[in-house]
Amino acid sequence: MPETLPAGVTDAVPANLRRRSRGTFASRGGAWVVGLSVLVSLLALLPIAYVIGVSLQTGWATVVTLVFRPRVGELLVNTVLLVIITVPLCIALGVTLAWLTERTNLPGRRWWSLLATAPLAVPAFVHSYAWVSLVPPIHGLFAGVLVSVIAYFPFLYLPVAATLRRLDPAIEDVAESLGLKPRAVFFRVVLPQLRLAICGGALLVGLHLLAEYGLYAMIRFDTFTTAIFDQFKSTFNGPAAHMLASVLALCCLAMLTVESAARGNARYARVGSGSAREQRIVCLRAPATALALALQLMTCALALGVPLLTLCNWLIAGGLPVWDMAELLPALEQTLLFGVAGAALTTCAAIPIAWLSIRYPGRMQRALESCNYITSSLPGIVVALALVTVTIHFARPIYQTTITVLLAYLLMFLPRALVSLRAGIAQAPVELENIARSLGRSPARALWLITLRLAAPGAAAGAALVFLAITNELTATLLLAPNGTRTLATGFWAMTSEIDYAAAAPYALLMIVLSLPLTGLLYHQSKKTAGR
């Protein structure tokens, strides 16, 4: 049987018969991947270690005096009230809007859907800047709740809408056939299926509420983060700031636990290639349609109309002089620099962990991931404080440099890159790589030609999300930015601190313009995936 062997292959033992490396994934160069993942996760533990370390260092007596005092009680009450009022309101608004745009025949559904996502392009502190300009006396809990709901409801709207889109209508059909009325079908069949999306979105809103500084500072509502900031300004690195940070960190962890319990055993749905089934649409009668449209319009007006109008007002009032290019352009450049560099660094750091979670899932990998997850729930100010303390005492060369800022961004935003990256790598199963190897490509070439190419869109999406987060980031940048640097966010903040609202307007406008394309990306992405 004549079998022509291709040139170069003989029957003799070839010279490329290499020495066997016995054993597991780890010994086959996977050690690098594991090592990098561990490194990143250890970094992520820094803020937690700092919080614990400083508490231990301060001494129990001081801790008691600093933590158990009326002021902290005040802050705790404020924070708790804020959370327990805002989150349910966000849920109600998010679910209602999602249901209206996904499951009814409301006219202009696609536009309402887009408009419900758009408020994400406006940074939270710009929302409160707009409201304070519009209604100067506005302050306190009411203002806090109002602006928070407006700024954060899209975090609930997006996953709920995405899940509604992918629900199997057969389940609802069966429920109806078993005698449930339409309203009962919604509450007993549809809503429970939204549990995951609602939990995830509510957690996100809650964590933002705890971490946000600019929004509450402007409307004079004291929360832990504003108090930590005040302490920081007064004592730089004093124990009181650390103690407040510890309490705040505990609140975040508590929130994580609550969400985990609420989620129960349910698993997040895998991104599947399910066929798009015909969803049942509810036809709204005229009065209901009018109500629905009114709700949509009102939300739109409050969430988009107010900030945009106020901005326009200020820009017109300020005229050309407020466009101080000598200040604006460097700030823009700096923001872009931080954004791109931060996004690249964070995405690269996420690669080993995402790799492990798809290719070699297991207990260790899950533990590594939770380290990152926990740290990213901490507010930016705690992370920044931790880094300031650590770099001053142990890593002086990088103190007050761009590296520290980027590191803070990495710790804060890693999970955003991780989620998208995971989805991307999942698009490139190991089987494809194996086939490429069987077709003569070396393992490295196979990785490059197949896996990385397929994972690239996921990586890009993750990087885009991190970029969006960085352009709007205020607190950590305020604390960590090197001498003489100013981003759009910190520039905006400096202007508003001087009550120079007109001068702040160009900064706000630029931030919104930068955020718009990425918000569009988020919207587009949510249309493709179901609640993760």
């Binding site: 049987m1 004549p2 079998e3 022509t4 062997l5 291709p6 292959v9 029957d11 003799a12 033992v13 070839p14 490329n16 018969l17 290499r18 020495r19 066997r20 698009q427 199963p429 089987e431 494809l432 194996n434 086939i435 490429a436 190897r437 069987s438 077709l439 003569g440 490509r441 070396s442 393992p443 196979a446 197949i450 190419r453 397929l454």
Partner: protein
């Protein structure tokens, strides 16, 4: 000359023994099928040959060249072994032409020509070249995967359940086409499947695996006629298995006295007959005593060209004990009706199964 030699391969995952001392020789140019139930280790074995897994102990050599032994290994990308997995696994970000051409070292016109040739050989229309994998049907995807693997003119082709994802009607046609294609190319092929009819029809050499062990290997007909044990027998097709007493080339069982291929004396064993070895004849009262035994048709399952009859044998000993029930196949049109008395006779030898 044997193309592929597997010698005492062992692989353990934690506490689970995936491969247990597997040895096999694959002759050059032949089609070997490794068959077995899920979890029997056949896919692990295939991946080991391809180079995606490595054995704990044992030796693997191709055309006299050692691919794996206790001290050395050749990495997958240097083995020149084609691999076609279950669902084709086409690269989703490349067109059909790019997929097929992936393994080719040439460029430009030469490459295009070769790709066209390959597409032709797997009966793919040339206008499919610029299509994307998700635009193709299952059968088309499988053919592209085949062409892709053949492009590099491999020394060995490995097919991992390639037809199981296809519709039943398509399966047989694809099987025939692939068999012809590989025979024309003269490539040694190893196919893994859990489908016994596919295994029996495709193979020159059949190997049965169970729980990591290679239970039996040889010509399909030999395995079919003379399986090692009951499980293998049942796996390769329907079988009638019953206890019998062997004596000097004859088995005494419920069917009476049947010749066997084993000359043990005075021992009890299980014997096996294939359904096609049983013949039914309607019994006329006037029929004289014939060899074989009497039975009554208790159930009749008509399915077109065949009729599956359940017959209850006349009990050997007198008593209340009911006789053994057997399934017998008969032609659809001439099957005796239910309740009728029939005479069951056997053709050929019964096979004595080894002790489990």
């Amino acid at each position: 000359m044997n193309t592929l030699e597997l010698h005492a391969l062992n692989k353990t995952y934690g506490t689970h023994r995936a491969l247990d001392n597997v040895s096999l020789s694959v002759p050059s140019g032949s089609r070997t099928v490794i068959v077995g139930p899920s979890g029997s280790g056949k896919t692990t074995l295939l991946r080991m040959i391809a180079g995606f897994e490595f054995p704990d102990t044992g030796r693997l050599s191709l055309n006299g060249q050692t691919l794996v032994d206790s001290t050395h290994e050749v990495p997958a990308h240097q083995r020149l072994i084609g691999y076609v997995p279950q669902d084709g696994a086409l690269f989703p970000h490349m067109t059909v032409a790019a997929n097929i051409g992936f393994g080719l070292a040439t460029k430009g016109n030469e490459k295009q020509q070769r790709v066209a040739e390959l597409m032709d050989s797997v009966a793919l229309d040339s206008n499919m070249a610029e299509r994307w994998p998700h635009e193709l049907s299952g059968g088309q995807q499988q053919r592209v995967a085949l062409a892709r693997a053949l492009a590099q003119q491999p020394r060995l082709m490995l097919l991992d359940e390639p037809f199981s994802a296809l519709d039943t009607g398509l399966r047989a046609a694809m099987r025939k086409m692939v068999a012809k294609l590989l025979a024309d190319a003269g490539v040694t092929t190893i196919l893994v499947t859990h489908d016994q009819s596919e295994a029996l029809s495709f193979a020159d050499q059949l190997a049965v695996m169970r729980q990591g062990r290679l239970v039996q290997s040889g010509h399909p007909l030999d395995l079919y006629r003379y399986p090692e044990d009951e499980q293998t027998a049942l796996f390769l097709g329907d079988a009638v298995v019953m206890p019998a007493r062997i004596e000097a080339g004859w088995a005494h069982c419920d069917l009476g006295r049947i010749p066997v291929n084993n000359h043990r004396n005075n021992s009890t064993a299980q014997i096996m007959l294939r359904p096609e070895q049983l013949q039914l004849v309607s019994l006329l009262p006037s029929d004289a005593e014939m060899s074989g035994c009497r039975a009554v048709v208790t159930e009749r399952d008509f399915s077109g060209n065949t009729c599956t009859l359940t017959v209850e044998l006349q009990p050997l000993a007198n008593g209340d004990q009911r006789g053994r029930s057997l399934l017998v196949r008969s032609s659809g049109m001439y099957a005796p009706p239910a309740g009728s008395a029939v005479h069951v006779s056997t053709i050929g030898h019964a096979h004595v199964l080894s002790e489990p």
